[in-house]
């Protein structure tokens, strides 16, 4: 059994060589103390924590699952002490506002830590990132009084967070939700309704839980324009903010799921629970998106984290498992058979994972740097950085989680029959990675958001910025990139023409964008990954091939694999989009 090892070298190569984050950090407000030395120390500490404290929880946590007993939820053995250590280390407020007790680290650094957390245990990580995400939404939309009162409790992990959107009849379409809020005066409200699929809705890690709840005021208009957002504690707070009496919040049951068994997914009843309005009346859905967008990139990271572990485990297995001879003759005649890593098809499975992981991590870092610029950058750079972040978020969520399942499936297949039994942990990775494609808005919904709001809404201008950046980068480095420059530019041109098509058709046919959406997101993803590989190859070219035990030569081989065997998928998605809308909508719905 291979234990998780945080890929520090890969992360550091991306941070400092490929992206030069030190330079970027130096231009962010409030990051004066952050430098490579500090960042490396933090990454090493995160590596130690995830490898030794969190990763060992994963398999037993999957077997045990959460236990529901009479309204209470018990996490698997070891989760509570791990939470204590983790929260005491300040990791939940790692990206939090220092004014309220956060560590103030940039997203470009915290994302690397989150990846490690997801590799170590998706289920454990969920309790933490929902708390961080809730804190971000509160910081962005809450009153000063609410922030002062609750942010320190969230950053310290004394209190955990959970987001309450979905109802049984209202998932993707939140405009249908029915939970009610009655005003009690003094900015307090009484919340009544039932929410489902609430991750971390009940647990035994913290004495109190804060819920961000979407609900309707009595006079609210119908649909999504009549939704407000409320902060509701599980237990009322005493004068010293320690948990006091029950607040009319109860957990009705937990779901039995395909995976992430150690993450509680709850039905939560609010029976006149008291809470506070966060943000403006009837503008709750927009405010909630602050949290959702934070989570969305993190859900992409879940796919990446699962992929990294799948790769590590399957590469180790492929080096050890002796079976058959290499096609071109025995590589290890002294052994009864060769390790299966000598088989070309096993290489294909390993290289697919690795090439997608490296590009995915680079993409996350690139997206994180836009988020940092939007938040801490120069004022005049903020609007564009914000728009780029909005453009990249659905790709980060969907494309990374789609590739996450792909990598986990390839990793599982390397194990043959051993991958299907629980013992090796590979099937758990597949089951866990699958949820990342579904929750926080299915990947189909991410694609609709991308095409409608991030592409069609601005006539493709924002995508154009990215494509111009890619063309400029390739132009600067075409000697180093050689044939890959040609392949990447062809993919960029095709994406440009498909973008134009999607924008033009969108004006005439309301179905055109939705019909193209999933393929458009995938095409965009492969082009972005191509750009990431170009950046990695340029950075690797500054190093000697023989250096670091072939580390940089391996980047070159992975890049070659990406451009020749994976980037061609972008053109397939283009071709599917170009097939048009009619083929989807011709059949009457009752015929299916």
């Amino acid at each position: 059994m291979t234990d998780y090892r945080a890929p520090l070298q890969d992360m550091q190569f991306l941070l400092y060589d490929v992206f030069d984050v030190e330079q970027a950090w130096s231009q962010l407000a409030g990051m004066d103390d952050l430098n490579r030395e500090l960042a490396d120390a933090l990454l090493e500490e995160a590596a130690r924590l995830t490898e030794t404290l969190i990763a060992p929880l994963s398999r037993p946590g999957d077997e045990a699952g959460v236990r529901f007993d009479n309204g209470k939820v018990f996490t698997p053995e070891g989760f509570k002490p791990a939470w204590e250590t983790y929260r005491a280390g300040g990791w939940i407020g790692f990206a939090g506002d220092p004014q309220y007790g956060g560590q103030g680290m940039p997203r470009s650094l915290t994302l690397m830590v989150e990846e490690m957390m997801h590799s170590a245990s998706n289920a454990f990580c969920m309790y933490s990132i929902l708390t961080s995400g809730l804190a971000l939404a509160l910081k962005s939309h809450g009153s000063e009084a609410l922030k002062r009162r609750f942010l320190p409790l969230l950053y310290s992990g004394d209190c955990a967070g959970a987001m309450c959107l979905t109802e049984s009849h209202s998932g993707t379409d939140l405009g249908l939700l029915r939970t009610r809020a009655e005003p009690l005066g003094n900015d307090t409200y009484r919340i009544t309704g039932t929410k489902i699929f609430i991750t971390g809705g009940e647990q035994d890690l913290t004495d109190n839980i804060l819920y961000l709840v979407l609900a309707r005021l009595p006079d609210a208009p119908e649909g999504s324009g009549g939704i407000s957002m409320f902060l509701v504690p599980k237990r009322k707070l005493k004068d010293d903010d320690s948990p006091g009496d029950a607040n009319g919040v109860s957990c009705g049951s937990v779901e039995h799921k395909m995976g992430i068994h150690a993450s509680s997914t709850c039905v939560i009843h609010f029976d006149g629970a008291e809470g506070w309005l966060v943000g403006e009346v009837n503008n709750g859905l927009k405010a909630m998106f602050t949290m959702m967008n934070y989570e969305r990139l993190s859900v992409g990271l879940q796919g990446l984290g699962c992929s990294e572990l799948a790769y590590q485990k399957s590469a180790a297995y492929a080096r050890e498992r002796l079976q058959s001879r290499a096609p071109a003759g025995a590589v290890h005649p002294e052994l009864p058979a060769d390790p299966i890593i000598e088989q070309p098809d096993v290489r294909r499975m390993l290289l697919t994972q690795k090439a997608l992981i490296e590009a995915g991590r680079a993409f996350v870092l690139y997206a994180g740097m836009q988020l940092d610029r939007a938040r801490y950058g120069a004022e005049d750079a903020k609007p564009k950085a914000r728009q780029l972040s909005a453009l990249l978020t659905p790709v980060g969520k969907a494309f990374l989680s789609d590739r996450g399942l792909e990598c986990c499936l390839e990793g599982q297949m390397v194990f043959g029959g051993h991958g299907y039994i629980r013992e090796w942990g590979m099937e758990q990775l597949v089951r866990d990675a699958r949820i990342a494609q579904i929750y926080e808005g299915t990947n189909g919904i991410q694609a609709l958001d991308l095409v409608k709001r991030r592409v069609q809404a601005n006539g493709g201008e924002h995508v154009g910025w990215v494509l111009a950046d890619i063309r400029a980068f390739v132009g600067q480095h075409d000697t180093v990139l050689g044939d890959y420059a040609r392949l990447l530019l062809a993919a960029v041109d095709r994406l440009q023409s498909v973008t134009d098509l999607v924008v033009a058709e969108g004006a005439a046919d309301a179905n055109a964008g939705p019909a193209a959406a999933v393929d458009y997101l995938a095409q965009f993803g492969y082009v972005l990954y191509g750009w990431m590989w170009a950046r990695i190859l340029v950075a690797a070219s500054h190093h000697d091939d023989q250096a670091a035990g072939g580390y940089y030569a391996f980047r070159r081989q992975l890049g070659d694999f990406y451009f020749r065997r994976l980037l061609p998928r972008a053109a397939l998605h283009a071709e599917v989009i170009e097939a048009g809308t009619a083929t989807l909508m011709a059949t009457p719905s009752e015929r299916f």
Copy 2:
């Protein structure tokens, strides 16, 4: 919750309209009594049995799983009475030799029944198809005495079968196996060794189990040329062939798996168990392939069966689930929201499933007709039919099970978060369908078999037969097929050129075939499915568009979807193959 409904209309359209099996059956030896009336009656009875008896076992069987207690395995509640009904109906010997009590039905009919069985319950089906498969191997290679003694017991389901190949260090590479066989004289042998991953190796459905075991004689040469095949009963047989004393066979444990929880996967110890040689000494691997090839097509059917149920469930859910408005405006303004089937992306997921299912079922039937011709056809037609069967078997196993997972994933996604929880049964379909890609030789191994033994070994001649048949068919029907004829012929030409490449490169580079294998199988699969769609479209063109409530119009829409949105994948696989071998093999194995 949608119950399984056997797709009788779809099956009958393929059987009688698309393939004219009545005509084909009339040319097979021993099928004089078989006609449409009888076949329909059998299909209807199979539908009734699978819908009402088997399908209700699936979800509870997944929850309960098999129970292992002190060497015994207990199947979930309801399995034993269902087995009694099923076996008493003669279904296990449905394809069996009438000389020994079988029903003598052609594979082109029995495959349709197997698909229903897989839709209803993969786990239950495994106990049955392994018994049928063992009977087939015994019929092909056993002595007359063994056949007379054991075939009736297998056909009647009084005795179940299990195949024992894998050992912990020997899976794909059976040449490494260590189980020993000592001759006792009189053609009996004493078998000693431990086998793992034995499906149905122990259960409580039958009083006795027959194992086909691969083992080595004391003087056997090393490797795969030193393996013989033995028939070993769990309990010795009394003079009347009823089960008697224990025979040194024991079950050490059962595996805990990702899915097919109600199918027992056992560690089986043979401690001097007595058995009989089947076939020739040291030729056991080849003999075992009779059984494995039988199972392989059936494993492809597992993918198809799961897909059919995933489609049925997700189409029903998409028609019922109200969420958001259709992009072009409300379709049902009287409802709070439109059914999600009005969303183009939900259509994409449903049409993808349905287009792959229809082509998959047609392919199975086409392959089944080759198997029938090889077994019951005119003598001079048998060799070619056998070679075609050998060519189609790995595609049937791997491509259908790959598409099976794809369809189950799409079906699950239609449900959003509800697809991830156990309640709706969609996540079980994903977990169950996954094994079909792994067992009976992983899909990577199927692809190696295809490229090496079925393509390179004959210089691509056998693929050439298929491509010539496609070209001839398209030539005859190009008026009906219109633009699809052009698309299909282009795909055929590309497959021809890739085949030539794979054959030519194979002569110079032992890695070339293995490096291309998985993509070659996929490319071949998409071309074959394109042919199937061409045949379906031609058959549908003989019917009025308005007929049968739009049934034939829907075939046309599905065909259009296939040619425009799915067939383009074939060219992607070609491009990947053309990228060559170097990109896979450049990295030293220790670098991964």
